[in-house]
Symmetry: D2
Subunit: 358 residues, 4 copies
């Protein structure tokens, strides 16, 4: 094991650069993982642009696929050399929030308390995965062995995109035979579409305007794709449901327009499941909220993490029920990660997800 | 049975008057109930003021306690002369919404569809209860016999106030040992407080400033009452919870300030249960929503109706677990209902609920 | 409309015969449906054999596909000539059980009470569907229009087999990524397998020994089929799960062996969903029950009915997510129904389901 | 801190004796707690009698109240000298079961698997609490600070009896206005009664024959107590519910008769929540199970543990909603624990719970 490694580091708004950093020491409950594949997330772009604040000098990235290089002294049940992933959210397992079923909102060392997004540590409060090595905290709660026969790229979406998108479908309270609308078909929206199908929705409307994403939406299970650049998606969905509205809607972008649209297409009694990261106050139009009398639910979800979640998601991939591999549209070595950011931040060349290999 | 009866009729905004109307004919699935006690609801005041539109000439009121005068030809399982109540919301039982567990959003004759508040008929789409007689539609789904030993006033809150307030507590996903905040302690908020206690909350913060209501809040189960005229309730609740926030909050007024306060005191992972009838667009401040990443829920509830709901609520009263009788602060004959509206609409004399007896 | 019709009538144990009966009169809440296709269920065979008691002279059968011939005076929202189905279970919509979310256990005219299976009326407490016409009670709660483009045979399973099998999967609390075992792959077990896949199970073990059913199980979504005539299914499932057991199991036959096997393969914390109709006392072995300390659930389900359930199930068929048509292995005219009973009761010729057309 | 301590040790069936043992070493994730109060549980009596096997030489007991003596090197958020309790069940927090919401069934070091009762470690797989000191594993998941103002005896039930009894009520799916039957009113049954009240049950039938327990049942919330030595409790409950049966029943003893009674009083659609530790196979009578067609649930629960559960239960005590102190009927020093076992195992002198103080 070398003493130094390459890592993509947040320097200042507008600059994430590849630089040298020491390979971290391994504490008793940690594991050091040698990254074999990682990726760039929309959240990393927010960090790059300075829209989401992290400390200068932090290694970014939160989607690790790799090999266990070294285990802490208390870590049992794993072997060095084992292929593993870990979720973008790394619950400690021992916080009140974790023990109360809210692992993503892990408050960690706070005696009783919670902190929003407390479970998100990689590339947020500790060094992340866009590096040659990453230190996984609370390793026994977070390391999930990759089943034989699955490639790095097949499981690359599990840590974040797939877990988030599926969470959106799970929180939407979908019943067999439901009609569901998914607003936006970026990587998370596409996973929400796949998740809605997996939960029993039988009519799925996907709202999108980028041709490649519209096509991918159908592959993920959309029964109809509505191009919002050509017609108003709310009117279109109300027309397609004979004025009934949808049983559930999923917001997967983080804008007022998608938030509002998701509410407006909802039947009385329906659930709106919100996945987007918003960047300003939101308005709930009175009519879209039925004046508070519609028996509606608005539910937000942060990406569930932990090794059990990862195990389940890899089960889905291994079963062949869902194939997310086609979302990996571009591949870069870690040494070219700055180019990858440039491509991904500017959404050029039909990019969906970029595989980064150290 | 006389041919004509007295009824409180919506004439135009600003005017509800007592006038003569024919006693209605009884269809095969209906029951005619002779009202013995009814009451005025905040919603009736909205109607009076023209803020909620109903057809001119409609009898208002939606909280009936009475005696079965005449049963339709198909109605079985009841007897004329039986004491009954019916919910403010009268589900048909046979709509898709009803059969899908959304009885309050009953779409009735629409083939597949729903209409917000479709289940609310008395004093909204059909003649209401502030009259000598009321026609109860779909009687077999709606008539609930009053257990012997309960007075009219004891069950007077069941049709609306108690059902709504309890629904707010039920929708808040309260677990044993939870901390809950209830914003506003009008009749519905007081019932939400009682409901939160009945669901296992062990610390209940009630927010109110009217002394009589603050006192009543304690009787209903509040562990601490915060006078919002003296200190900021959000700051106060965060202080009292050591910055942790509450597991669930209940909004019981329908203003931006109570909506927003209910969100701001919520822990990550917590549920905000909204009961208020809003009269304009709402704003969700970014921080109060944790940017969409807090695993929060916003849930709205319309008063559940139907005879089974009424049976359960009367069980609560009969068991002595909750006593709502002290909420009846004033009593009027039906002939003086215009005075009762004047008192209630202007919230004079510490009025909470008014019993009206034809 | 003729005055007399042909109907399959229970005469005495061992004898169901085709005979003449008057076409029934239509009450105000009823609809008369002209049957175009119906089928024979395992329960009908129990009736034939005298194992389940019904009144002599009753028309049997509970799975109607047909055309509305005549509507009762109070029935709105339908037209004569419309193609419809109705569930095997016909909830009234107005019982306490219905209003409490337990429509299948409809207690109907009982004031407060429930009666097990109270919602099952066709061919049980009222004349059934193996006839030229059937009277559908509480028509507005039960008639579900068949979407254009679906054939009779495509929707023939919706009233019972599909609704029951799917209910087994729904009650099993299946989460995305779960491993599920389904014991027995008769028509209901096959639908349970399809339902488990539709709810997100990613590894499904089907237990069966009849070759046609084993093959069909794979078509419905089974990932592995275990021939219980060749190896012990409990041992096999524990081996395939590395001793972990399954997250959920579904019992679809009604024998001690399948009940017990379903418990024995269950992980601590897992749910056993029971669909079978048992004919004797059951034994729970101490170890299979973890001495009562395994956080396990045993859940039983009766076929959900009502028009909303039928609408959802037809959605599933229309979406192409599941194709149950291959289960219809034999076809008979109503005039040859006695032959059909002979074939089906003796399970000859690889019969799964028989379509009966008047 | 001394090197040796007194501990109650399982020697062989029939013999638990007080003897000397080394005070244990403290690993990095452990905490050493000096016991100030503990108690004897029915399970300990099973161990004493050899009915539940544990290793010879093990310290028994699983209900600790004490003071932190020494913290492991990785344990943060606590201070030595702090008053704490820990649950009878000590989840690791990092097992797949824990991360899947099944902490009591913690499989610990098994890669994917579960072991029934895997979370129960004190006095089962590791040394227990009937000693001067106990080592709490995974301390950050398990140590719960005792709020100021609560005595040892007030929180003595939290680790097991209260957590188990309340779990029985929580698993019973109790809705506001429900009727609930609780079979047996030993300490766990009494807590189940208190829990049922706290969840909104408005009619609670308690079944018991010991006068002190019958009286205590009323104090805990029972509306009627049925002496099974004087009348058949099933007949009595069916009579009291007008043949309707109960919405939920709770079994709190572990016998065929209470198991069966709990099923027989259940309405169609009702839930039977089982808490007892059974010692043999169980029989489900066909009629009590509605032949599998009653939409019934049988749910078993193991005592939930972990610091968040303890925090919530201590909230209940602190709020004054429930007072369990009267259950402590006898007090002994640790040096007289053999006498305490003799009293408790033979249920003499109206004993309910015994406080043991080192």
């Amino acid at each position: 094991m070398p003493e130094m490694m390459k890592a993509a580091i947040f320097v200042e708004p507008g600059r994430i650069v590849l630089d040298d950093k020491p390979v971290p020491d391994v504490g008793p409950n940690d594991a050091l993982v040698r990254i074999t594949t990682t990726t760039i997330c929309g959240t990393d772009v927010h960090i790059l642009k300075g829209e989401y604040p992290v400390e200068k000098g932090l290694t970014v990235g939160h989607e690790p696929v790799g090999v266990i290089e070294k285990l802490g002294g208390n870590v049992e049940g794993y072997e060095e050399g084992q292929r593993v992933i870990a979720g973008a959210i790394c619950p400690s397992g021992h916080s009140n929030a974790c023990l109360d079923g809210l692992a993503a909102q892990d408050g960690q060392s706070q005696a009783h308390g919670l902190k929003p997004m407390g479970g998100w540590r990689f590339g947020n409060t500790i060094d992340g995965t866009q590096a040659e090595y990453v230190l996984v905290p609370d390793a026994m709660a977070n390391l999930a062995p990759v089943p034989d026969g699955l490639t790095d790229e097949q499981v690359l979406m599990c840590p974040d995109i797939m877990s988030t998108g599926f969470a959106g479908a799970e929180a939407a309270n979908i019943k067999i035979g439901d009609t569901v609308a998914v607003f936006a078909q970026g990587p998370i929206g596409l996973c929400a579409t796949a998740g809605a199908k997996l939960k029993g929705a039988t009519t799925i409307f996907a709202v999108e305007s980028v041709p490649e994403r519209m096509k991918m939406a159908v592959a993920m299970g959309a029964d109809a794709v509505i191009d919002f650049s050509k017609s108003d998606p709310v009117e279109e969905i109300m027309r397609l449901t004979d004025g009934r509205g949808v049983d559930a809607s999923i917001e997967a972008l983080g804008l007022q327009s998608t938030f509002e649209g998701s509410l407006r297409v909802l039947k009385p009694g329906g659930t709106m499941s919100s996945l987007g990261v918003y960047s300003g106050d939101l308005t709930i139009p009175l009519a879209a909220f039925n004046a508070g009398l519609g028996d509606n639910k608005i539910v937000t979800s942060l990406c569930p993490g932990g090794k059990e979640r990862m195990r389940r998601l890899m089960n889905v991939i291994a079963s062949g029920r869902v194939d997310l591999n086609p979302m990996v549209t571009h591949r870069y070595g870690l040494d070219r990660i700055e180019d990858a950011y440039d491509l991904f931040a500017n959404q050029r060349d039909g990019v969906m997800k970029v595989a980064i290999t150290p």
